[in-house]
């Protein structure tokens, strides 16, 4: 297993390296950030000065290698726009995104599992059909549109919830998060539900499929024959066995939530890393874009690895080994 982990780490480094080259080169080709950053009425000399102070006058390979050299020491460069270390900018915003992703994951599980199990137990009932149709909507409606609609309904028409932004931050066990204040919870609800819709639908479908499969298996039949109560059969025997695929998928999806909550964050003016990424792309803030994507790659590789390890621990039939070509 150690060999497996080491090999995985090496692969991860290679992926990060290739990715850094692609993104760095891609943003380099797109355009020159100084054209957007520099004041309109600056003269040519001032433009040249800014270009030189950002090192953009040097040839591509020089810029890339000096970036690589620094990156190896953990310095991803300073943001062109803010002139602060790109990594710090991202870490500064990460908690907001993490709490949004966590809240959204909780919503998917807490609502998705019961709904899915229900749909799996009584597949022909009207409720089950409604749930499944709803889950199709959850997959297919664009996040952007749903976000705006939710905002119009709950913030503008009903005025139950605040429309945008992050609420007050509280502290609990040394962790600072807006999930610990009432104001913060009110603010996080709409964006979290918006972000959860896709995963909610996913969990419903996984739970339903799992339940449908499991209820016909012998041990469930045996449990029923033994005279166990319905609730015990469902909560202990069925639920336990459908959890493995759900947990696996959600583990990976969490990475997706953190990395790609871009649309939701933008719509709800949520001060997380997704919004930072949008701004960075709009202003060609290359250090921030590259640092962001490298962090995302590392996140995914790590999550994948953890899921694999957890899987082998949960299910003794799975063994971690290299599959050589």
């Amino acid at each position: 297993m150690t060999v497996f982990i080491i090999r995985r780490m090496m692969q991860a480094l290679l992926v990060v390296f290739v990715m850094s080259f692609l993104v760095f080169g891609g943003v380099f080709v797109v355009g020159d950030p100084t054209e957007i950053l520099v004041a309109d009425d600056a003269d040519q000399a001032e433009r040249q000065r800014v270009i030189e102070s950002m090192g953009l006058d040097r040839p591509f390979y020089e810029q890339y290698f000096s970036f690589l050299g620094k990156a190896l020491q953990g310095d991803m460069g300073d943001s062109f726009v803010f002139d602060e270390p790109a990594l710090l900018l991202i870490l500064d915003r990460l908690p907001a995104t993490l709490e949004l992703a966590t809240a959204s994951l909780l919503i998917s599980v807490v609502f998705g599992l019961p709904l899915g199990v229900w749909a799996g137990l009584k597949p022909d009932s009207i409720t089950a059909r409604t749930i499944m149709t709803g889950s199709i909507l959850g997959f297919s409606l664009p996040t952007f549109w749903v976000g705006i609609m939710m905002m119009l309904l709950f913030a503008v028409v009903l005025q139950w919830l605040p429309s945008t932004g992050r609420g007050d931050v509280g502290e609990f066990l040394g962790i600072h998060s807006s999930l610990f204040t009432w104001d913060g919870l009110q603010h996080v609800l709409l964006p979290a539900v918006n972000l959860a819709l896709f995963n909610l639908s996913l969990v419903i479908r996984l739970a339903r499929a799992g339940t449908r499969e499991v209820v016909h298996q012998d041990y469930v039949k045996f449990a029923r024959a033994k005279g166990l109560s319905d609730s015990r059969v469902i909560f202990v025997h069925v639920l336990k066995n459908i959890m493995i695929p759900v947990v696996t998928v959600l583990g990976l999806e969490f990475g997706g939530l953190v990395a790609f909550s871009v649309v939701t964050e933008f719509v709800f003016a949520w001060p997380g890393i997704g919004q930072l990424l949008i701004m960075a792309i709009g202003q060609l803030d290359r250090p921030v874009i590259v640092a962001y994507l490298m962090i995302v790659v590392l996140l995914f590789v790590t999550l994948n690895l953890l899921v694999d390890i957890a899987y082998s621990l949960l299910d003794p039939r799975v063994r971690l080994r290299d599959i050589k070509a």
Partner: protein
């Protein structure tokens, strides 16, 4: 609504506590804005959102009112005492928020830091270079230039004055040892302005409190001001409708009609200093996006002929663009600045839509059969920019100049438009751009857009069509050295008459009109410089 709610809440709190230390009524206001500044350092980045936000805390020597007319800031009077020396009297009794007195030393210090700024995204050197600030006594300074410099007061509206006692964490030699981040966390954000800095939550909000020690003339209606950054247009409108914010800026044109119908809301609209215009390639004989009607390259460039440019101007129905594309929220333009600005030409009005006259001009120029064009423009920079480009293309296509449209995000567009071609030349032939006059008068656009492109002199920096007319250049240079206001205004007007009237070096389309929306009971002074500032927002009296 939230404004009223908060007022109510505050009044209630006062009633319950009845503490003598409580203010009679705590007036708080929350403003939803589109763009977050990139720094609180006054010299880090010469950028609209920065200048607006930082201006709450730091004052300039001379300030602009909402119509970009000069008003006293930290200087109470300014006048030239010789051809090359301006004398400024400073405002007595002004104090920084750390309690120290404001003196001439702070002005000298601020100019030194602004002029020598290292790093940053575009310095204020454009406005500080060639100027020497001398302290005469604590309350008097002289600013010397090498040659007569009439734009002194306008330039001084850009440089904010910081405290020479500010302490930072940077290297000693660089930017006086004060880094941009020292301003972002409040360490060095010590100004004399109407508000003091409380906190900046990146990506979320900036909070100011009233500066009780302020002794200038700007109104201070609010005890606490919160700016929330809501970049997405529908979300910003929703936040206003929901009552979460008391005002928003950059109201999208599509929502204006709807918001007018809301009984709880008010709109403030005002023309800006920004003209939306078309630039045409006047330099190359073979221009890459000028073709014959079938799309084959042409050996001669019709855009070099002023008659053709004039004809194109007459083929564009500005009234229709304003009415349909801009939903009535814009003013057709015939020159660089709207009514009321310094240095406008009295002779120029927006060209009328007149296909017959245009065809005659085209025939005179030898292009009666027309030719083909491609218009390039941004799609996320100006109000409805992509739609304007499409409308222009349709007018031209309908009148014998088949025109293709290509729009792209601004991060791609501007570097291609400025230097995407071979040897760093402009890549396109026919482009849509906008220009806001930061100095509030005509020399700024004349110098950047129409003066002959010459990096060594710093002229024509944004002249992407490479218009060049020595006669206009001469008038402009003369204007830039004429201290007498009336004479200078005439010279600038003459230069405009040549650059736009005779040459049609650019084709102005319209002046942008900006819209702010507030909750009922509040009113905003629409600013021509497009800034959103708390001291221009006040309760209706």
């Amino acid at each position: 609504m939230s404004f009223i709610r908060k007022l109510g809440g505050a009044a209630l709190a006062v009633g319950i506590l009845a503490s003598p230390a409580m203010p009679a009524m705590a007036a708080e206001v929350t403003i939803g804005i589109r763009s977050e500044p990139s720094s609180m350092d006054p010299y880090f980045h010469n950028l609209g959102p920065n200048n607006a936000m930082i201006g709450h805390v730091f004052e300039r020597l001379i300030d602009f009112d909402s119509k970009q007319q000069l008003i006293a800031g930290l200087a109470t009077s300014w006048k030239p005492i010789s051809d090359t020396v301006w004398e400024l009297k400073l405002r007595p009794g002004a104090k920084f928020t750390d309690g120290t007195d404001f003196t001439a030393d702070d002005v000298v210090y601020s100019f030194e830091r602004a002029d020598g700024y290292e790093g940053g995204n575009s310095s204020f050197r454009t406005y500080t270079k060639g100027k020497t600030v001398k302290k005469i006594d604590d309350m008097t300074i002289h600013i010397e230039t090498e040659s007569p410099y009439p734009l002194m007061p306008n330039d001084l509206t850009t440089i904010m004055i910081m405290s020479s006692d500010a302490k930072g964490t940077g290297e000693a030699g660089k930017n006086k040892g004060v880094d941009a981040k020292d301003f972002n966390d409040g360490t060095a954000t010590i100004g004399t302005g109407p508000y003091k800095f409380v906190e900046w939550k990146k990506g979320d909000s900036i909070v100011f409190e009233k500066n009780d020690g302020y002794n200038g003339q700007l109104p201070q209606d609010w005890d606490k001001v919160t700016f929330k950054f809501i970049p997405e247009e529908p979300s910003r409108v929703a936040a206003l409708l929901a009552g979460d914010v008391d005002m928003i800026d950059n109201v999208p044109t599509v929502d204006i009609e709807r918001l007018k119908g809301e009984a709880d809301l008010d709109l403030s609209q005002g023309v800006s200093n920004r003209v939306i215009y078309l630039h045409l390639d006047q330099e190359r004989d073979k221009s890459p996006f000028v073709t014959d009607k079938d799309g084959n390259p042409l050996d001669t460039n019709p855009l070099k002929d002023p008659k053709v440019r004039k004809a194109i101007s007459h083929l564009i129905n500005r009234d229709a663009i304003v009415a349909r594309v801009m939903e009535g929220v814009a003013i057709p333009a015939g020159q660089l600045l709207p009514d009321g600005f310094f240095g406008r030409s009295p002779n120029l009005t927006a060209d009328a839509y007149d296909p017959a006259a245009a065809k005659k001009l085209l025939a005179e120029a030898g292009w009666a059969d027309g030719f083909g064009l491609t218009i390039h423009g941004p799609n996320d920079r100006y109000i409805n920019d992509a739609k304007i480009a499409e409308a222009v293309a349709q007018f031209l296509t309908a009148n014998g100049i088949p025109t293709k449209v290509e729009t792209m995000p601004k991060n791609v567009y501007f570097s291609r438009a400025s230097k995407g071609g071979p040897d760093g030349t402009p890549e396109f032939s026919f482009i849509l751009v906008g220009w806001g006059s930061g100095t509030g008068e005509a020399s700024s656009p004349l110098k950047s857009l129409l003066a002959t492109h010459d990096p060594s002199k710093g002229m024509g920096a944004s002249n992407r069509g490479r218009h060049s007319n020595p006669e206009m250049d001469k008038l402009l240079l003369e204007a830039l050295a004429t201290v007498d206001d009336a004479k200078r205004a005439t010279l600038l007007a003459k230069a405009t008459d040549i650059g736009i009237g005779e040459d049609q070096g650019i084709i102005p389309l319209h002046y942008q009109v900006n819209t702010w929306a507030t909750q009922k009971g509040l009113t905003y002074n629409p600013r021509t410089d497009e800034r959103t500032i708390a001291y221009d927002l006040s309760p209706v009296k």
